[in-house]
Symmetry: C2
């Protein structure tokens, strides 16, 4: 397959992209009104969006509709386990027409002793079936806050979720195929089509270092919260690689290839899913050879209650989730005085390795008025979220503090 | 005198103001080039600026030239005692033509037992002459970072200074005049003219609660670093009220009136030098009756070395100043990892009550690349600078963290 780094969104000039984002993201609310006077191509994709791009999803904000990208407002991520209807959508290509399980085949080949081709029933029958709550986050979640802006989907907070995934362990499948000694990387292939329609082009084909692929919580999943996957989330079969950029979790999975070199699929090369190997000033033009591929995502947290802008009394519960790539979260803190003081939140252990951790605390405010509730997490190695963005050219890994604003009425 | 809240700058629409700020603030560097095609009125005021508005000042950035407002880049505030040439300028009106000490008279009247009218020599002869290092900061220092923006001078960091002032204590003078029991407030009058030229209008006339006026470190000053005052800083006579908004420190001082009610001079009423009595959301339209006059300024710090954007090695000194209104600074900390860790800086005591405190520490960086050095101070009551702006409609009291960015080359 040819590699193609292009993306409909990324070929527009910077200010067009931002305007495009603002215009299209409002569509779910006011598409008909805004449609007047738009070029034919835009109205066509808008019709598609309004005609069901987010069927089966509930309350998501649509960022783009070709490909479909949609995030979940923070307060709609309040559940410990993210409902299927509220799992964000990050697509690079066009969803396959047929996403039914029947007839779907997965090939495992490359440097294996025994190449395999299996149906989903074969997977169920031949391997231990496990269910785990696993956190997926887009590598560009939080990109919308970069200054200067980074091109790509302008995610704010909602490109993260933790649903229950049922499937088989990638490790078990690879071991059955026989991983040869020379293997260093996996390559993943999906059935989604390139936006151009060119069947020779792949919208996305990423991979994993073999050590990561062999860990316990990397799944080949065929159920999401006990049901078939949502078509936008990779039905009927996908990888789920918790704690790494979502793009590692190939959707509409058809093939896994084992390689004796780093996979060179679409969006494996810098600057895709890559950051500079040293910290750079905002706006720096970084040479491609100075980038390195992102592995684990950094420690981060989200406030899911109260909702941003909520009316509250003098005392109320603040709660949400925290996660830390391949690590766990050790400490969760909340401040309502811009960091002058932090109060420790009650923090649950993850329900399994790879699940986000739920936390909660009761906040008291001293007077009526406007307050910001800020949250920060610290991981098991003592690394804490930064209060400012560590800028990089493509807008990845923004794990700065989350805040919600509230209006307090104190008797 | 009539009160007049107007200000040349404040009558423009919001986006004009910001454009005006950007255009004019660049003048010190590139005025001639930018002048092409500007309306006559703007080129005229620009000519004035280039023709000597900042004579006797060194390195200040001009924000406006009618009235003259200019701030000092942070790295030029590195001295423990701010040189006369680097003290910021915040004017509301037109500087008096004659600012020589000869013939200058100060009246003290109102609710006193013995009204007085004194020359500067009289002040020197009749009262103890003291010299103190005193911090002055514009109430709107940091306004340039408000979002949504607040109207007024778009100060960033440099509307603060700590020079040595020589004069007599306001308290001694008031006691000599005999403060009557009914007095609650002072009213201050200066010789500067209203921008309109109308002699009935005052550009600024502020006052102090009598308790503040009677403290030891409020001076009627006639020397700045052992020399006559700079004409833009109030020559030949001014008040110096450390730790309160600079506007309390009336320049070109001609009269102090004692009052049995809060002074009602120009810019005493809300929203001038006033903030809401409860925290408000960014962009809130606050009723005037909900404002209260600013008294002491909040705890704050400034990094004066290294300069923002400097090249550094792996280890270097970071230093600056910190101040806290009527309080002292108890702790000074610096972070180079976005607040994950803070190192305590060595912090000097103030040289006298009302002086800023100098601090320094050695920072080590782990690798080459871009780093931000952030500073935060905590005052004697345990109140720390916030990491985000506490928004208010007029853009006062921004005491959020200061940072400088550096490019490190680590061997």
């Amino acid at each position: 397959m040819k590699h193609d780094e292009s993306n409909a969104n990324e070929e527009l000039p910077q200010d067009m992209k931002r305007r495009g984002f603002l215009g299209i993201s409002g569509l779910g609310l006011a598409g008909g009104v805004l449609g007047v006077g738009l070029p034919l191509q835009m109205t066509a994709t808008r019709s598609l969006a309004q005609g069901g791009a987010l069927d089966g999803k509930d309350g998501l904000d649509l960022l783009n509709d070709r490909p479909v990208n949609a995030q979940t407002p923070a307060h709609l991520l309040d559940d410990a386990i993210t409902p299927k209807a509220r799992h964000f959508v990050r697509n690079n290509g066009i969803v396959p027409d047929d996403t039914s399980a029947e007839g779907w085949m997965l090939t495992v080949d490359g440097l294996v002793d025994q190449p395999m081709k299996m149906s989903i029933d074969d997977l169920r029958d031949q391997f231990e079936v496990v269910t785990m709550a696993l956190t997926l986050e887009c590598g560009g979640n939080g990109r919308g806050f970069f200054d200067p802006p980074a091109s790509g989907n302008q995610w704010t907070y909602g490109a993260v979720a933790c649903s229950e995934w049922t499937g088989v362990m990638l490790r078990d499948v690879l071991e059955a195929a026989g991983v040869q000694d020379s293997v260093v990387y996996t390559g993943h292939y999906g059935a989604d089509a390139h936006l151009s329609g060119d069947p020779e082009k792949s919208p996305l084909s990423r991979g994993l270092p073999i050590e990561k692929a062999m860990t316990d919580n990397v799944l080949i999943a065929f159920e999401m919260n006990g049901e078939p996957l949502h078509r936008l989330n990779g039905a009927p079969l996908r990888l789920v690689v918790p704690g790494w950029p979502g793009s590692c979790s190939q959707k509409w999975l058809t093939r896994i290839e084992l390689l004796d070199h780093k996979h060179d699929g679409t969006k494996m090369a810098a600057p895709s899913y890559s950051v500079p190997s040293y910290p750079v000033a905002p706006g720096t033009d970084v040479p491609l050879e100075d980038f390195e591929t992102i592995h684990a995502m950094p420690v981060k947290s989200l406030i899911t209650h109260p909702q941003d802008g909520a009316d509250v009394g003098s005392e109320f519960e603040v709660r949400g989730h925290a996660w830390a790539g391949d690590r766990t979260v050790q400490k969760m803190e909340v401040s309502s005085d811009y960091g002058e003081s932090w109060q420790r939140a009650e923090l649950d252990d993850p329900v399994n390795a790879g699940a986000w951790q739920n936390w909660r605390t009761t906040v008291s405010l001293p007077q009526s008025g406007y307050f910001e509730i800020w949250a920060r997490a610290t991981d098991s190695e003592g690394v804490m979220q930064p209060f400012a963005i560590k800028w990089n050219p493509k807008g990845y890994l923004n794990n700065s503090f989350h805040k919600v604003a509230v209006q307090a009425k104190v008797a």
